[in-house]
């Protein structure tokens, strides 16, 4: 029973939050503290679940070690997003009006996290689809949370339109997969795929499924929506989009490719390799000439999606382990960057010029920024490097040598644009003096995140604990 307890807790969270506001009418501050405390409790509970055998509930709710770690990532991401949103509910930030309705906001975040959990626990196509939608629909609302902000509304409309097309693609692909195998449950589909010859029906279904999920994961030809939406959404929502949303999409692909479609993994891996290579190249190219921080982070996260996709070329236990490991480190680095951007952009637009002279105004923030961006760029001994190393090793074991060479050379492009940001923060002189003040709470979170990014990769603690569970 303990294994399913955290899932029930997360499912209850949105309803509890809503009733706190509706019936108990508690203050904003209590709501915030409660939400953060709640997610912390869930996170701690997740750590107590014993790993080992796969558990099944009602025959199609699967809990395995991959699932538990993905739950931890979803919960961690929601926890950090809610603490990041603190500023935005209490005052106007980045020249935009302040956000309202915290309880509904955190309820949506909770629903999105639960959607991710449904995806990772799914054992049939229908559950998988419901999970994906449950994770996506709250995002539409979250992007438009600032309803008096026209940019946000525009972004949300774009997001809904492209997102629903993507959903339609997926459903279409699923219908072919069902037509091909005659079942919607994974064990039967696995058998059907393994025994049948590779048929055009399967290829069509795969094409549509990967295109559909490509939208949500911002893979190369389907990535164009991301910059506008990342820019229009409030910063905490951008952070969730770049972490939770991406994690859900990669989980979806992992569940399918390393699950029922495992026997055709060899056949589709050239296709995946091409997608991964193109995605990280296009993401890197796009980021080269940005001047707005959130738009920049959109391109940066597109290229990160390309890196994660490389892991899917590996063998089963290693690939899952690399994805979880990479996502953990990516979550820390990405949220660290967003926390710093939100502090810097408190009284001005979040652009590169807002960062000017940061090293003179606040050394602590400047060093944290250095660590966050260099980690995203994959410079050792910071966390991001070890995530990438793990992914490359996984792919190298299956002999994708030239894809790896291409990916590591792309790191140089990435290094260039991260250095551009660092140049604003460290080298350029400030245009006008705007005082920077960090609330103590934020300072503590930034400190914790900085230390995590600095140490989690180099010290083998996280890596070895995860690998025990997987390998």
């Amino acid at each position: 029973m303990i294994t399913i307890f955290p899932d029930i807790l997360i499912l209850l969270f949105p309803f509890v939050m809503l009733s706190l506001k509706l019936f108990l009418k508690v203050s904003l501050k209590t709501q915030e503290n409660f939400a953060v405390g709640y997610f912390l409790v869930v996170f701690v509970t997740l750590n107590f679940i014993l790993l080992g055998q796969n558990h099944f509930y009602l025959s199609n709710w699967k809990i395995d070690s991959f699932g538990i770690f993905m739950r931890e990532i979803f919960v961690l991401s929601s926890l950090l997003a809610i603490s990041l949103s603190h500023n935005y509910f209490n005052s106007s930030v980045s020249l935009k009006p302040k956000l309202l309705n915290f309880s509904e906001f955190s309820a949506s975040v909770g629903f999105a996290a639960f959607g991710g959990i449904v995806v990772v626990s799914a054992n049939d196509l229908l559950t998988l689809f419901i999970g994906l939608e449950l994770a996506t629909i709250p995002m539409y609302a979250l992007v438009a949370w600032n309803k008096r902000d026209s940019e946000g509304t525009e972004a949300a409309i774009k997001f809904i339109l492209t997102g629903s097309v993507a959903t339609a693609f997926e459903l279409f692909g699923f219908s072919y997969l069902y037509g091909f195998s005659g079942f919607i449950t994974f064990p039967e589909i696995t058998n059907a795929v393994a025994t049948a010859q590779v048929s055009p029906l399967l290829w069509i279904s795969l094409l549509f499924i990967i295109s559909g999920i490509g939208f949500k994961m911002t893979l190369f030809p389907f990535h164009l929506w991301a910059p506008d939406i990342y820019e229009g959404a409030p910063t905490p929502v951008t952070a969730i989009l770049s972490v939770t949303s991406k994690a859900v999409a990669i989980t979806f692909l992992t569940v399918l490719v390393l699950g029922p479609l495992h026997s055709v993994q060899k056949e589709i891996s050239p296709f995946l390799a091409l997608l991964a290579g193109a995605t990280l190249f296009v993401g890197n190219l796009g980021a080269l000439s940005q001047s707005k921080l959130r738009r920049f982070m959109a391109f940066s996260s597109i290229s990160q999606a390309g890196y994660i996709l490389i892991a899917l070329l590996g063998n089963t236990p290693n690939a899952k382990y690399s994805i979880v490991y990479y996502l953990f480190l990516y979550t820390f680095s990405n949220y660290l960057a967003f926390f710093i951007f939100s502090v810097v952009g408190k009284n001005q637009a979040e652009t590169f010029s807002a960062l000017r002279g940061l090293s003179e105004k606040n050394k602590f923030l400047a060093i944290s920024l250095l660590i966050a961006l260099m980690s995203l760029a994959g410079i050792p001994p910071l966390a991001g490097f070890f995530g990438k190393l793990q992914i490359f090793t996984t792919a190298a074991e299956n002999g994708h040598f030239f894809l790896i060479l291409f990916a590591v050379l792309n790191n140089v492009l990435a290094l260039y644009y991260y250095i551009q940001v660092l140049k604003s923060a460290w080298i350029d002189k400030p245009e006008k003096e705007i005082a920077l003040s960090i609330p103590t709470k934020q300072k503590i979170i930034i400190l914790i995140l900085t230390l995590s990014v600095l140490l989690l990769g180099f010290l083998p603690f996280l890596s070895n604990n995860l690998s025990i569970a997987f390998l």
């Binding site: 290693n318 382990y321 490991y325 090293s359 050394k363 250095l370 260099m374 410079i379 050792p380 001994p381 910071l382 490097f385 070890f386 190393l389 793990q390 490359f392 090793t393 190298a396 074991e397 002999g399 040598f401 790896i404 060479l405 590591v408 050379l409 790191n411 140089v412 290094l415 260039y416 250095i419 660092l422 140049k423 460290w426 080298i427 180099f458 083998p460 890596s463 070895n464 995860l466 690998s467 025990i468 997987f470 390998l471």
Partner: protein, 496 residues
Amino acid sequence: MFEKNLLNLLWILPFLTVLFSIPIKENSPNLKRFHLASAGVVLLSSIYLLIQVFQNTITNPSSQIQLLYETKLNWLNAISAKYFIGIDALSSMMLVLAAIIIFTGILATWRLEKGQKVFLGFFQILAASVYGVFISFDLVLFFVFYEMEALCMYLLIAGYGSGNKDYGAKKLTLTLAIGSSMILAVFLGIYAETGTWNLIELSKIALPESFQYYAFPILFLGFAVSSSLFPFHFWSPAGHSAAPTAVSMFAAGVMMKMGAYGCLRIAIYLMPEGAKIWLPYLLIFIAFNVIIGPFIAMRHKDLKFITAYSSISHLGLIFLGLAAMTPLAFRGAALQMISHGFLTGLFFATIGMIYSRTHTRDITQMGGLMKAIPFIGVGFVIAGFAGLGLPGLSGFVAEATIFIGSFENPSPLCRVITILAILSITATAIYILRCANKMLHGPLVISKELLPKTLPEEKFIIVSYVICLIILGIFPMPFAKLLDSSIYPIYMNLIR
């Protein structure tokens, strides 16, 4: 046990220094004293380790690297990477070189007025990265240390440099990053082929020949980027001319040696078949470095550009030694790594001292400096003499060994390039003497009152480098013998 802990301390101490220097006030003199003390401790321990290695290494050539004071711990179990460090003859000598350059580098920034804390902090991280490179014998650990410098190099040059600093810093950082990406890709390939990152184990396994054929050039050129081999040499003049004195000393003295060290220790050692196929072709690139480098230096007027091209030509000599693939040439290459580290450190240190007085690096706008600052002038001339291979200084020993060794290689191309390289020493003499003549002699251009006297720490820097150059120049034999114990295994792998 003591030596083992000392070896671990070498890379941990710089990090601890950075950590404990955070609470010290920005402008307090204790800050630089603290950093200097820490660098001094590292210097003394590296000298102690060198003496220990001297006593404990058997100088008879054997086919195994004699690794002392190993520490082997499990690290990242998922990819079976180990924390594996140790020390042998070559790495102990490189360690002493690095420690001397770091120590004098901190002295060279003694009078830095603004932002000392950040500068010294990043400089210590650079130090940790080079110490780590020279002692790690696990490829992942090696790469972590090797790539760490990218973190600090940009900020140090762009923040504290002179001239076109942002451009130079970016050029340097990104070009070096291209090199290290190539290295990482090949390391991953090696791991996929063998399942281990352990350098000692890998040297016993013969990698598949087909893999060696296409991986060797990528790995070798990847390392050669940081040693500015011909098609990748362009970062070096731009980077050096923009960098502050201490960073120039570090980059030319140690960082560029890391590449040559990697070529010898990893590329040639692990892929002997690939080396035999490719190195004769790479001689063409090397010829550019050795022969064209001095001629470009002749045309330049900026002191740092001259020294950068002189470094390019001297590093070409190291590669000539590597490409000749005879034991004597290898020994010469290793000696040249150390000798050039000292002489280029002295070069850049004296240039920094001159620049801080004249505020120009254009040699046509200087003159008669020997009358005003004789001490620094003599230091510059000694560095120049070591560079053009004056007997009695370390440059002669190293270059002569390389030339004799590479002439032993019977291939006609190698011999022709050796002969041309020997002739190009004349060009080296021309630009160094011309430069010294313009700058140090003739009428004094800037009045004597504007040129402050040589400071005590500057005297210390110059004297310590000159002592190193003379020791290596007059008593090279014990060092050469010691180096053979590291080089012979590499040669044995080649003729296996």
